[in-house]
Symmetry: C2
Subunit: 344 residues, 2 copies
């Protein structure tokens, strides 16, 4: 029979301290505030730690420090380039502050989002970013009660009570509408992702309507298509809109680039030449937008910037600094080759 064998626990600060002939206090200092430790001692500690393969155990230090150095972000899905980009930017920005990022996906479901937020709070995140909007009434209060710095990204309802970094969806879509109006378009179609639980999309529609109204124009119901995401949805939408009774739109405003690309593909399938016969605009400026042919006219949303600014805000909160609770970035029109004046 094998003798009772104490399996070699993973090393603790205590072990390193003994190996280096110092106290745990010194071990801790050697790693966290090396300047406070004599070089010779420091080297001994590092050497001992290396031999034992010791890394400070986060739970212990989180407990003692009252912070975990972990931040959380909740997004609808990683499957959309826009969101993935933003998360990646956050991860990089947080890394500079030695903060690691916990992610949660909500699949566009407010309940799942709320659950994710709660889970993250329980994990003790030091800061929290939620993409889009606060998922449930009352949840914000829970976050506040825990004193966890918090920010909404991407969307921004002007005058929202929550700190946010993003852009004004309505304004952006008004801008793109005015651009098309300036080209001479009068009849518009609009293709949208699902508006359910998604205030951003609702705002986009409102933005288009408002710019049109300024010119005494409007959007006919049969020229509005609300459906799923993606290229296929864009194709289907275009077919349906152009097949509707009455005068045909000469410009199609799409709620995002993927829908626009779908519309573009379908236009070609239908024998239309873009932009001669039909103008199409996207939104987001995903990487494909500039690479397809004809290249898509769209609005660039700098998601890297959003991610970076959101982290900047959260970190400044963490440091107890004051910071503006609403920071807006401006989407920029990227005029490429899918827009032109309407056919005569």
């Amino acid at each position: 029979m094998a003798a009772t064998q104490t399996l070699p626990r993973t090393a603790r600060a205590q072990d390193v301290a003994e190996a280096a002939g110092v106290s745990t206090a010194t071990v801790s200092r050697a790693f966290n505030t090396p300047a406070k430790v004599a070089p010779a001692v420091r080297d001994r500690v590092f050497a001992a730690a290396a031999i034992l393969g010791w890394l400070p155990h986060a739970a212990g230090s989180a407990l003692a420090r009252r912070r975990t150095s972990i931040a959380g972000v909740v997004i609808p899905t990683l499957g959309q380039e826009v969101f993935a980009t933003q998360v990646e930017a956050m991860q990089a920005a947080f890394a500079e502050h030695d903060i690691t990022l916990l992610i949660g996906c909500s699949n566009y479901d407010p309940d799942q989002a709320a659950q994710q937020v709660r889970t993250m709070l329980a994990r003790g995140v030091d800061a929290l970013a939620v993409l889009g909007q606060i998922p449930q009434a009352g949840l914000f209060e829970v976050v506040q009660a825990r004193r966890v710095p918090f920010v909404i990204t991407y969307g921004s309802a002007p005058g929202s009570t929550h700190p946010c970094v993003g852009f004004d969806n309505a304004t952006a879509f008004s801008e793109i509408t005015r651009y098309l109006l300036a080209l001479g378009h009068q009849i518009f179609g609009m293709i949208l992702p699902p508006t359910l639980h998604n205030e951003r999309i609702v705002a986009r529609l409102a933005g288009v309507r408002s710019a049109l109204a300024d010119e005494g124009l409007g959007l006919r119901p049969q020229h509005i298509f609300e459906g799923e995401y993606g290229i296929l949805a864009g194709r289907k939408a275009l077919r349906q809109i152009l097949g509707a009774n009455g005068p045909r739109p000469t410009a199609i405003i799409c709620g995002n680039d993927l829908l626009a690309i779908g519309a573009l593909f379908e236009a070609r399938t239908m024998g239309l030449v873009v932009p001669r016969d039909l103008s199409i605009t996207g939104f987001d400026d995903i990487s494909m937008a500039g690479e397809i042919d004809p290249a898509l006219t769209t609005m660039k949303v700098n998601n890297v910037e959003i991610g970076r600014l959101a982290v900047e805000y959260l970190v400044s909160q963490l440091c107890g600094e004051a910071a503006p609770s609403e920071v807006l970035i401006l989407p920029a029109l990227v005029e490429r080759s899918t827009t032109a004046p309407p056919p005569k």
Copy 2:
């Protein structure tokens, strides 16, 4: 002057215990093993917790339990659909086990990847998945020393010493090559992402070569293009390959779908009709692949499955169960409309 004000700390188990008139032990049990607590008491505890807005503090419980319920995943970037999909699948699968996911991006840099792994270990992750390959010699030993369940995903060098779930890149590319050979192609071009630090890509090239060699064929150097990722790279590559001296390839095998889409676009620009004049294949089957026109023939890699299986493996390790240390999935040929017999 305001009196010295003790700011209301966030509640602890102690506070809940007092409010409910029980001990902290009971509070803990009420949340973790409700069956062990009398219903009436349990309700009192829950009520008190709700009023105080208490959630168990993860650091404390991690310390006591010796586990954090956090897993880590390190990937090159979230910007590629393939990786993002896998991460999302992992997040969902881990969530079923109440494990939250920490992510780190390496930007294809082995040093950054190694750093991310170390950071995650320091954060006390219970399990770790690394996409692609182990970034540095020696790192695996550190992970092992910490007894953290570990898995490599996506890539799989057959006979690798590390547990992995993925597929055999060489075999997959041999398969697609044989498919094209069967269609009658004899001269092949290949477009690849950068091979530097990326054994998977090297394996893909090897797979193509080996299938060709079986038929006594080979790949001419001027028909191999290694460049960046993306559609633009695909365009440039096709132009270069078709512009080379000597006989033209009739089939282009691309290392991923984006390159293939680029090649496809460029072929159209050059006035070639795909697949009549040229066959093009992709790899991964990203969502676009089936939605462009002509739809791309490619190989589908089920990344959701990979993510799920990886989590399954890690969780079983966590539970001390035995599990096969190498699980392979089979990429499947998806025959669509960019391949046909070569022109006469």
